[in-house]
């Protein structure tokens, strides 16, 4: 009897082994769609979802899943305050001096502003705004916010506000900010949620929870670092009071769990779902899928301190091996946008140089460049930390091996990646990652600045630095455009950063959810989200 059972089990095992080999693709496997989804939102900020209705009843509590980036702290100035979850919280809890309405700056806490030679900015502030602790919003709070940001070295707020040389509080509603040099993009820095205005008294009294006090439409009730936050509506908000009473932001690590929580109705809005699930969400009559392409440019870069990578022929050979359509299909199930030119630039960042032709996938041309290069059989390392880009490394590895280049993939986490590609001690060779672009062109500066963490290529071109300095400070619009386009041309000719794709993200929401403002910089605003229940 035991022999019979053992034989039967072996037969079942063999059957399973054979059935796992070959065969047709499962009908449940999502078929990658080609190119960009037709529903991609082209505007820089877009309100999506249902429209408010007269006499409608709204759900009291809305639960939102954030993606897996940091939601470590609720201090906008903190170096850990840059994750999507944190940014969405800041949008709800705080206000900024100005807001971005589809690329146009509109007043928020600042009613109006004067700009002198792009270096001196005078803001005239609202007089009817109060913080959640009852303190009145004054110019001194703006001054404190800038001080606080400059003290928090390494944060995104520091990156934006470190250009401020001095602040003069003229009166309670007037403040004059002087920059260390002219900067045409300074106003654009201020709409970022990391530049949210904090209350001096609250922050000085309690450095940990003081930054939770804002002027925004939501008040923090509870916050557990990197887990969840619970907000209640601020009934005394100076602007439009939201119809929802409570908001919950929760961080869910697994993509599959996010999708299932959305499908089960446990949450109302889910960011960070896998592109493999996008079609399923879209085809479900109870849900909407909103996709948006972010400005960040996914790229392949080369460590310019590596002897082999310094060879332009080798770099051009690699550039010819990028089959972008297949990469988008393979890594994003088709949810990605192809670069429209060879320029390394943000998706909708102004002054993109469209005259630079995108290097097409051409294996034969790659082989020719390889023959001319100094490659002599060493193993080339491809480095990545983001999941999609790890897959791109594997695709590129196969292509390189196809033309006779030995390649290995080095996968690591974010900290390991940053250490590996450090400007002063760059151990990498070929890097696959996504660059942090925004809606203003001076976001390109870190990629070329000596010592910058974003300068993964350890690339220093004095001509580019000179052009960027001119572009950031000149008042001549035509000159700005010329400088930025020239930067792109020089970078293109040096073949240092090769654009691969722009990632198309998706957010799933229950059918009657509305008021979600999606932005291309991933700083989405859910402060007026609602769900109609009748």
């Amino acid at each position: 009897m035991k022999k019979v059972i053992a034989t039967a089990l072996c037969a079942v095992l063999l059957l399973c082994l054979f059935s796992a080999c070959g065969g047709k693709e499962s009908s449940n496997t999502p078929t990658p769609t080609a190119g960009t989804s037709p529903e991609v939102l082209e505007d820089k900020t877009t309100v999506v979802g249902a429209e408010k209705q007269e006499g409608a009843k709204y759900q009291e509590t809305i639960t939102i899943i954030c993606d897996n980036t940091q939601m470590a702290v609720l201090d906008p100035a903190s170096p850990q305050g840059g994750g999507q979850g944190s940014l969405m919280n800041f949008n709800c809890i705080h206000d900024t001096l100005v807001e971005n309405d589809n690329g146009t700056l509109v007043p928020c806490l600042a009613l109006k502003w004067d700009v002198e030679d792009s270096q001196h900015y005078t803001f005239y502030l609202r007089d009817d705004v109060y913080f959640h602790n009852g303190e009145k919003f004054t110019a001194d709070d703006v001054a404190f916010t800038i001080e606080h940001a400059k003290a928090a070295k390494g944060g995104q707020a520091f990156n934006r506000l470190s250009v401020v040389e001095s602040v003069e509080v003229i009166d309670d509603t007037t403040i004059r900010i002087t920059l260390n040099r002219p900067n045409n993009d300074f106003l654009y820095y201020l709409y970022s949620p990391v530049c949210s205005i904090l209350n001096r008294e609250a922050c000085e009294k309690d450095p940990e929870k003081g930054p939770w006090i804002g002027t925004g439409a939501w008040i923090v009730e509870k916050f557990v670092s990197n887990e969840y936050s619970e907000l209640r509506v601020n009934e005394n908000y100076w602007g439009e009071v939201p119809v929802t009473k409570k908001l919950r932001f929760i961080k869910v690590a697994e993509e599959a769990t996010r999708y299932m929580m959305l499908m089960n109705g446990e949450v109302d809005v889910a960011f960070g779902c896998s592109p493999a699930d996008f079609d399923s969400i879209r085809n479900n009559p109870n849900f909407n899928l909103f996709t948006y392409v972010i400005t960040n440019c996914g790229f392949v870069g080369f460590n310019m301190t590596d002897p082999l990578m310094q060879d332009i022929n080798f770099r051009k050979a690699v550039a010819c091996l990028l089959n972008r359509s297949d990469i988008i299909k393979g890594t994003r199930y088709g949810y990605g946008a192809l670069p429209t030119s060879g320029a390394f630039w943000g998706y909708t960042t102004p002054y993109k140089n469209e005259d630079l032709p995108l290097q097409e996938y051409d294996v034969e041309l790659a082989k020719e460049y390889l023959k001319k290069s100094k490659y002599n059989g060493e193993t080339v390392e491809l480095c990545a930390w983001i999941p999609e880009f790890k897959t791109i490394c594997q695709i590129l590895q196969a292509e390189l091996m196809n033309i006779g280049v030995k390649a290995e993939v080095f996968e690591t986490d974010q900290a390991g990646f940053m250490a590996h590609c450090k400007f002063d001690d760059n151990k990498s060779m070929i890097i696959c990652t996504s660059g942090g672009w925004t809606g203003y062109p001076s976001a390109s500066v870190p990629f070329y600045t000596k010592g910058s963490t974003s300068n993964y290529a350890s690339y220093v071109n004095p001509e580019i630095i000179e052009l960027l300095n001119t572009a950031v400070s000149t008042k001549d619009e035509a000159e700005r455009e010329r400088c930025y386009k020239e930067v792109q041309r020089l970078s293109y000719e040096d073949c240092v950063y090769i654009p691969v794709m722009y990632i198309q993200h998706g957010v799933g929401a229950a059918k009657n959810v509305g008021g979600v403002i999606l932005t291309e910089e991933n700083t989405h605003d859910l402060s007026h989200v609602f769900k109609i229940i009748s």
Binding site: V224, M261, N264, T412, A415
Partner: protein, 319 residues
């Protein structure tokens, strides 16, 4: 007994010293530091150097370790380098969630394991025994993330009986993560129960009990199980200690805000203070739990209790 407890607790001191050293050494060997998780675009070289000095990254690992231990000796677990949040408060705010999950897993694990182990032992060599052994193997060998996702797909997505994640649906939120944790315990404990029971069931005193006419259920429950409990308690204690240490995988799959996730996040951000704090506190929990398990032996087995309470024989003075 008191002396024994104190001696065991005193062992915590060298354990904490060693564990902290290992954590600092491992984090030092791992690529990247806390500064690699922040943006340094607009920092001048002097400002960057100041940050390096602030985090003592220009000093050897031993210096940072010594500084940490000095603070620890004063009862200060420090603040997370990445978040600036108090390590003790962060750990304690999450510990109840891990505790709830662990004990729920314990109840499920024990409720499944002991009866299954007894049944397997009683029916040793039959198809029932093979079935239980197979179930144990599945419990032990199936990765918890895989099991977790299967449970979510079956019981949450397909039939919407339990939530897929989170913690705010009360008891219902705890079921699936507890089952995922508990099945691992059930697997190991069922095997241990079976083998302990098999050993005990061959004993002469059980034959005597049966010969005296004691009902079979009483023979198993009172005479056999009682004597087989020592290794079972050890197995349960070890698995519970692992669960209390925070199953990062189960907590990640089910978005359960426990200490496991906190520790993983600390490691990913190369936050030595928070990582060390979490690991040290987990060690303390581990050691205390193992001590409780050892003390339970005394409750279960009078021979062990006698050893603890036995007075040392007085030495006779030579005339």
């Amino acid at each position: 007994m008191i002396r024994y407890i104190i001696k065991r607790l005193l062992w915590l001191i060298p354990i904490i010293f060693c564990v902290a050293f290992i954590i600092f050494a491992l984090l030092d060997l791992a690529p990247g530091t806390i500064l690699d998780t922040i943006s340094t675009e607009n920092l001048t070289p002097e400002e960057y150097q100041r940050l390096v000095e602030e985090y003592d990254l220009d000093k050897p690992m031993v210096y940072r370790y010594a500084k940490y231990m000095w603070n620890l000796l004063h009862g200060d677990l420090g603040r997370g380098e990445a978040t600036g949040l108090d390590v003790w408060r962060e750990y304690i705010s999450r510990f109840p969630a891990t505790l709830k999950l662990s004990f729920a897993g314990l109840i499920i694990g024990v409720a499944l394991a002991i009866p299954l182990g007894i049944i397997a032992a009683k029916n040793a060599g039959t198809w029932i025994d093979n079935l239980v052994t197979g179930f144990s193997m599945i419990g032990i060998s199936m990765p918890s993330f895989c099991l977790g996702l299967i449970l979510i797909i079956c019981f949450s997505y397909k039939i919407n009986l339990f939530p897929a994640g989170g913690f705010d649906s009360g008891f219902k939120s705890m079921v699936l993560p507890a089952v995922a944790s508990g099945l691992l315990m059930a697997g190991t404990t069922a095997r241990q129960t079976r083998s302990s029971m098999l050993e005990v069931m061959r004993a002469d005193y059980l034959r005597t009990a049966r010969a005296k006419g004691v009902p079979e259920k009483r023979v198993i429950r009172k005479h056999a199980l009682g004597n087989a409990l020592i290794p079972i308690i050890t197995s349960i204690g070890n698995t519970l200690a692992i669960m209390l240490a925070g199953s990062a995988v189960v907590e990640s799959v089910f978005s359960w805000p426990g200490v496991g996730r906190l520790t993983v996040q600390a490691v990913n951000s190369r936050d030595a203070t928070l990582t060390c704090g979490c690991v040290i506190l987990t060690c303390i929990v581990f050691v205390v739990l193992l001590l409780i398990v050892d003390l339970l032996y005394a409750l279960v087995d009078p021979r062990i209790k006698a050893q603890y309470t036995a007075k040392k024989p007085k030495r006779r003075k030579e005339a």
